[in-house]
């Protein structure tokens, strides 16, 4: 139960919640913390903050204070690789990554959680690369005091399948690169693909263990794939030959190598002719030629997910569609743009 009392009668009482001060462009935070005992000196500042009345809280058995609610919800929302401190500020608790990795957001559980009355949680986008210590989500209860049951139901929703937000570490991939194309193989032009792929791999903490070049010949491509896998590569990247020309035979080479699952085509631009296949547990990624021209392509969306252990199939490639259109800005600001953020 909440009672309202006049400010002048509040001297000696403890504040029921943090009182926020906002100085535009300068400061936003708690001017007074919950539990602070109001004294005569505070009255003037409180009035300047627009407070002429304060709340006195007397919780009923089935009621809960916003700070306790935030802690219950934070505990349920936080999955593996996410930590939080029970130090609510203005009723909010932040959830932080406790390791580098890929943020995974259970989007349906998050939506269901936020549909419960009087609670909220906001997160970064699903599949965002995050660093240890980075804020990935924040939660709070909306009112100062509320019934306990809805909070516990919201927590149950958040806790399904290991929490709403988790951070998956990226494995250190040992990648085998296969640069296909007669023009490069026969030395007509210089390869520019390998350095790009190597940089993308090393940026994610993986390494290009082996590089081989293959002409537009299915058998040679097949052999190159098999050799890389035999020699311990746990990730294969193939560039070129992914298009629809008669010389584009990389897909056939992948099939001949024994891929039991091939997904060709992704709902992203650049990168529509992207391919993901699997030989046993080894993922094979077919990077179309757009990877040469655009700084950011579908590869940047999918590679971290594969290294985080996610199985990429038809559904995952199809769901890239919403937000999968690169705006091709003169200066690429990815990941600080909308590309790949819609799923």
């Amino acid at each position: 139960m909440i009672k309202t009392i006049k400010l002048k009668d509040a001297v000696g009482m403890k504040l029921a919640h943090d009182i926020t001060e906002i100085r535009p462009g300068e400061f936003k935070g708690a001017a007074f913390r919950k539990g602070h005992t109001v004294c005569n000196e505070d009255l003037c500042r409180l009035q300047k903050l627009g407070k002429n009345h304060l709340y006195l809280i007397d919780l009923e058995a089935d009621e809960i204070h916003e700070n306790e609610a935030a802690a219950i919800m934070a505990e349920a929302l936080a999955g593996n690789g996410v930590v939080w401190k029970n130090e609510p500020r203005e009723g909010k608790i932040g959830l932080k990554a406790d390791r580098d990795g890929l943020l995974m957001v259970n989007v349906s559980a998050l939506a269901a959680f936020n549909m419960v009355e009087e609670v909220m949680c906001a997160t970064l986008h699903n599949h965002t690369m995050v660093k240890a210590g980075e804020l990935v989500a924040a939660t709070r209860a909306i009112p100062l005091v509320m019934k306990r049951a809805p909070i516990e139901r919201a927590a149950a929703i958040a806790g399904q399948n290991g929490g709403v937000v988790s951070v998956r570490p990226l494995r250190k991939g040992k990648a085998g690169l296969i640069i296909t194309g007669n023009e490069v193989y026969h030395g007509l032009i210089e390869d520019r693909f390998a350095p790009i792929l190597i940089r993308k791999l090393t940026d994610l903490g993986s390494e290009a263990d082996r590089i081989s070049f293959a002409p537009d010949d299915t058998e040679i491509i097949r052999q190159a794939i098999c050799t890389h896998i035999e020699r311990g590569c746990d990730l294969i990247l193939l560039s070129g030959g992914m298009s629809v020309d008669p010389d584009d035979v990389t897909r056939k080479g992948i099939r001949l190598a024994g891929a039991d699952e091939i997904h060709y085509g992704a709902a992203a631009l650049p990168g529509a002719m992207f391919l993901v296949a699997y030989i046993g547990k080894v993922p094979l990624i077919g990077v179309p030629a757009c990877g040469l021209h655009h700084r950011t392509t579908v590869l940047d969306l999918v590679l971290p997910r594969i290294l985080a252990g996610e199985k990429i199939g038809k559904k995952e490639l199809a769901f890239l569609g919403h937000g999968g259109l690169c705006q091709d800005c003169p200066e690429c600001t990815y990941p600080h743009c909308a590309f790949g953020k819609g799923n």
Binding site: V107, S108, A111, M115, R153, A156, I157, A318
Partner: protein, 225 residues
């Protein structure tokens, strides 16, 4: 209790079609039974322990009745005409009762839980299978004080309406100015212009033998003329 898929298949067959309401109803009944500790509600041992109050006459209601085995005629199914997607499950042995309410937000969340399905009803059907109970339902622990006249078992009271003479069972009569009345006489009825009639083939019975013999003899007599 059978598994969800079997219950849904059989419930949909009994109901006449498979629809999102069936999914919600089967799950509502499974949750309700779990809350009142009945794992085999249709078994001989448990069937008399259960009363279910259904608050809607929609597909969901049929599924709840199918899974729990409650029936209007057994007095184990109570229909409360609230138009609310909810049902209350009462264990007569323990007196525990829980009201399970289907959440409105589940409808809005269907596209989030089954985004790959574009059509509304197939999407809801699949999404309602995927959602956890916590998203699909809210639950209230409630107390249900049942009158002895609402309990299963033999008729406990019969009286005649002082106006129309109709027999009224189970305390459903109304006392008005010292007169015992049936509800139609006391409160009005859902129909109008009632007029007693005769109808063709009035003497039909499921056991036709004697009537047929009588009719055949009568026909022969006519021919003899």
């Amino acid at each position: 209790m059978q598994d969800f898929d079997t219950l849904l298949k059989n419930s949909a067959e009994a109901h006449g079609h498979l629809c999102p309401g069936q999914v919600v109803g089967v799950r509502m009944a499974m949750l309700g039974c779990r809350l009142i500790d009945l794992d085999e509600p249709t078994s001989h041992k448990q069937i008399k322990k259960l009363i279910v109050y259904v608050e809607m006459d929609r597909c969901t209601g049929d599924a709840v009745a199918y899974v729990t085995g409650v029936k209007l005629g057994r007095r184990s199914l109570k229909f409360m005409d609230y138009g609310i997607m909810a049902a209350t499950f009462v264990n007569l042995e323990t007196n525990n009762a829980f009201r399970v309410i289907s959440t409105e937000e589940a409808r809005d969340l269907a596209p989030v839980y089954a985004p790959e399905i574009p059509e509304k009803y197939p999407q809801q059907l699949e999404a309602y299978k995927r959602m956890p109970d916590s998203v699909l339902f809210r639950v209230q622990k409630v107390r249900v004080d049942m009158s002895e006249y609402d309990m299963p078992g033999p008729t406990r009271k019969k009286v005649s309406c002082s106006r129309c003479g109709q027999m009224v069972r189970d305390n459903r009569e109304v006392l008005q100015n010292g007169h015992i009345l049936c509800k139609p006489c006391a409160q009005g009825v859902y129909f109008s212009e009632a007029e007693e009639i005769t109808w063709p083939n009035m003497n039909w019975t499921p056991v036709q033998k004697e009537q047929q013999l009588f009719d055949a003899t009568k026909a022969l007599r006519h021919e003899g003329k």
